[in-house]
Amino acid sequence: MPSDSKISYFIVQLTRATVEGNIKWKFADAPTSINVGTGDVIATYLEAEHRLQRVALYERRYLGYNSEIDSAQWESNIVLAFLDKEDRVIWDYHESPLSVCNLFKVARESAAGIDRILDNFLG
């Protein structure tokens, strides 16, 4: 199991590669290994290839139990995962520290081409 510091370093490197345009994210449908057989909703699924490795980043919405109001409530987290060629998840990271949320935000903006969209509106 990789150490937290190694994962944290990798996430920052991935964020930097995304910001500098060295990695291209694209929207896609989540593979069956992620969205079949669970009650989760995959709201946004992004995928990229970085150094010959498929990297996925997705927002997972799920029903969680809130003990304060004693009822089920929708929650969400961002998951970072590695996939192999057969769409199998070979590693995933379900913690959602700020670094992963920030990575998701810049990856989504990059895939959407938000700068180009805004330039079109303003241009």
């Binding site: 937290d4 944290s8 920052v12 520290p97 700020l98 920030n102 810049v106």
Partner: protein, 150 residues
């Protein structure tokens, strides 16, 4: 040994013991005060640090590097770290001091005055600071969880 001598010796020993106990109580009170202040302020400081971290990334993301925006974010980060540094001990304190060293927050007042407040960090260094802030946020998160149990 006469009785008055014994009493005088006992009074001296008692005074010294009293001093030691006073020091121990003072130390304990200080630690308790620090722990309570930390428990009360930690969530607020973590939220502020998260906001600065996102702001830092926003400026790093800018295709035309906005030096002033980046400097402002680094200056706010340094102010927050200096405040946080007084409230924590041990590894967290060391982590913050290292980060302050990287972000230019330890620069002497004379140098910062002559540099008219510019952090002067390169993009490479700013990415290093961004990475370390993520590590600090995780450490603060764990410290907040620990403080609920202690």
């Amino acid at each position: 040994m006469h009785v008055p001598d014994v009493l005088s010796w006992a009074a001296d020993v008692g005074s010294l013991l009293g001093l030691v106990i006073t020091c121990l109580v003072w130390r304990q009170t200080r630690a308790l005060k620090k722990a309570f202040v930390l428990r009360a302020r930690l969530p607020e400081l973590s939220t502020a640090l998260r906001a600065i971290s996102s702001d830092l990334l926003k400026h790093l993301q800018d295709s035309s590097p906005d030096a002033q925006g980046l400097d402002a974010a680094i200056a706010r980060l340094n102010a927050l770290l200096a405040n946080l540094s007084q409230k924590v001990d041990g590894s967290l304190h060391r982590m913050i001091q290292t980060l302050l060293g990287k972000s230019g927050g330890k620069r002497s007042k004379l140098l910062s005055w002559r540099g008219s407040g510019r952090s002067g960090l390169s993009v490479e260094q700013a990415w290093g600071v961004y990475g370390d802030v993520q590590g600090l946020l995780e450490a603060l998160n764990q410290a907040a969880k620990d403080s609920k149990w202690s």
